[in-house]
Amino acid sequence: MYPDYLSESLQAVERTRPGRLELAMSGQPVYPPMNADERKDVLSKYHPDFTPGAKRPVRVGPNRGEDITTEVADILEAHSMIEPKLMDIHLREPDYETDLLIIGGGGAGCWAAITAARNGMKSLIATKLRMGDANTMMSEGGMQAAVSPTDSPTRHYLDAIGGGHFENKPELVRVLTEDAPEVVRELENLGVIWDKMGDGSMQVLHGGGTSRKRMVSCRDYIGAIIMRTLMDEVKNHPDMISLREFEPAVELILDDKGRCAGAVLYDLDTEQFLTVRAKATIISTGGFGRLHIRGFATTNHYGATGDGLVMAYRAGANLKFMDSVQYHPTGAVFPEQIAGFLITEKIRGAGGQPLNKFGELFVWPREPRDVESAAIIRECSSDRNNGVDTFAGRSGVWLDSPLIDMIHGAGYTRHQFPGMCRQFDRFGIDIVKQPMLVYPSLHYQNGGIEINERCETSIPGLFVAGEASGGVHGRNRLMGNSVLDYNVFGRRAGRHASEYAKSATLGRLNVDHVRTHAEELVREGIDTDLVSPLILPSYTPEDVKIQQLARLGNVPARHSMLRSRFTPGERKTHL
């Protein structure tokens, strides 16, 4: 239930609704889309990437001297969790041996394991929490795939590269868009239930930045459906795929020729460090939302701390586009308990409109994400002051969902958005009748470890797929292209890593690069108490943290999480 103080603004939304509905039904854009100059203007003035302090030059590693998102630069310049000389015996006698080591059990990792099994290669999935505890699980709206007769893969290419401001790596965008129809079929063959029309054709909707209806969906549970299907399939191959849960990787292992040869895992239950020798290694660790960049709340899962970036970077892999961050235009603002939670873009794809406190449109609802987010931030900024303020100290704009049933017919919202309805029903808000209050929320790591179309990195034997990779989305990803990304590149990583592993030989295993990194920190005069990968964020109140850190001597590694400086903004002000 909305509190009384919001009723005046809610009434304004209702007052303007008939006129906005009429406009929506006319088939014309409900608000003028921005041209190139307008996009540039709003981004440079209001996007969080361009606020002072958002980036700084990184002082160590392959991208030394380049501007990188500050919170990322901080974890790249942090200490390793391991003492290399204590690892020697375990490098000689590894705890696990496998063809492929897959780090991260989300969508990309599961696809890689399934594809490897089909190619006759055994894999070990090592993951931080449970298999499927990943951003994959949480995607709601849909996946882009040019399957409609009005559309084409090349049209998809143009939309994606335009959304990324023409900086995406062309060969990556090509395979992303070209593999998409086959991915739809492959997922269906594994048992994913797509939303379909009566004749069996795929239901397609618009998303931000699409010029053709291209969003295929599973109600608003696409991630949960795909992830559980892939997990079930992984578990159906116990002879080919082994699984280690609650054992995140913390450092890569190289051999004496500089090839990737596995990783050091850290058992979260027993706090042991374990070693894996693998002919090829795939990083599918996902993104970094839990770094709470610029103090933003996030839509991401608990373990999204950018571990893959840290490991690969220390081992010498190059990063790409790590100066840009994606803020999803519509994270929840009210009620406070779900602040930052994802409100799917499919709401706008189905006709939902963002409105200011006067119930007025101020941006075309389907701009690319960075532009849409910046426009919402502008509306709420002191320059315009058109945001709706909550007593919890947040500001947001309305997302008018009642329009959806008016456009598509009664019952459409409840059938197509069961997850969204449930999220708000809990708090007595019926989104079929009332709008949601939203503000941008930290959502996606646009850049990452640079790959080519075979998912190879600058380190032989190291492959990367999914959100951890960089290049495919440029500096801005479009809606539905990340679901597509982990499907396309997860399969590719599995295939190409299998090919590589078939003929790979390994020399002597070492973690000398960890020692080199430590020396580099000293040489650059970097003084930090931060240990990375962070593994998990800490949401312990500061005073409790201080009491926990009073322990004398050898602080157990788990407490590296406690040392996390990235106390999220949400904690500082409210619980």
Partner: protein, 247 residues
């Protein structure tokens, strides 16, 4: 003894008052695995556990109600019922006594979806335990998604795979139904099997999708791709901003 305790109690009250001021919220007492903690009243169970100082390792995943990692059992004062909920989306209440379930012991059947047939008996063949259902509806009452779990288990017994798929669509596989089931059925695994069977064998085929896959394989778009991939930023810019929009 009483007099010895009093200063500590006073101190405890002062600390609670301090916490209340810090978060500017009313505080409630909750019992986390039996131990009392004072937490803000508008906290979810998950945030209350963290507020108390725990680093959750098992029992948190997506934190938004999709992954089912945070199944929790709790009781409330003056209420005989053993409640179930997801820690990430359930609010604390005064006097709540709770414990998270770190993992639910589970056995998943091994099968090949490609080789299974979507027959009336398939579900019973893969999960014979389903036949033990006594229709007590405890599973539905335990479901944090408010799904009609018993209805889909019963639909499974009748071999109505499409109905199981539909009714179990929003399942987050937290396993709370399986823990509460007196017949020891694993409903959510039946749901996953049925959804896969439906998607694989009972779907309506999309001819457009077949056609598009054929076109890609035949190289229909190769020339256009080759052209786009070498195009300079200016030409791409012109093409992009000039493109037409499907209404």
């Amino acid at each position: 003894m009483e007099s010895d305790n009093r200063p500590r109690q006073e101190e405890g009250k002062r600390q609670e008052e301090g916490k209340r001021q810090r978060v500017r919220a009313n505080m409630v007492n909750v019992f986390i695995m039996g131990k009392r903690h004072v937490v803000p009243e508008h906290a979810t169970i998950m945030r209350a556990i963290e507020y108390a100082g725990h680093q959750i390792i098992r029992g948190a995943g997506c934190r938004e109600g999709f992954c089912g990692a945070c199944g929790t059992l709790y009781r409330l004062p003056g209420d005989y019922k053993l409640h179930t909920g997801l820690a990430c989306t359930t609010l604390v209440k005064e006097g709540m006594s709770l414990t998270q379930i770190p993992a639910v012991p589970m056995e998943k059947a091994i099968y090949d979806v490609e080789k299974l047939r979507p027959d009336v008996n398939t579900i019973l063949e893969v999960y014979p335990v389903a036949a033990r259902c006594v229709a007590c509806n405890t599973c539905s009452k335990a479901c944090p998604q408010q799904l009609q779990v018993m209805d889909y288990v019963q639909a499974g017994l009748r071999g109505d795979i499409a109905l199981v798929a539909d009714l179990s669509f929003d399942c987050v596989a937290c396993g709370l139904c399986a823990l509460r089931c007196p017949a020891e059925i694993i409903p959510h695994e039946i749901g996953i099997l049925s959804k896969r069977l439906f998607g694989r064998h009972l779907r309506k085929e999309s001819r457009e999708l077949d056609e598009r896959i054929r076109e890609v394989r035949a190289g229909k778009f190769d020339a256009e791709y080759d052209e786009l991939m070498v195009m300079g930023k200016d030409s791409l810019n012109k093409l992009y901003y000039g493109r037409d929009m499907e209404p």
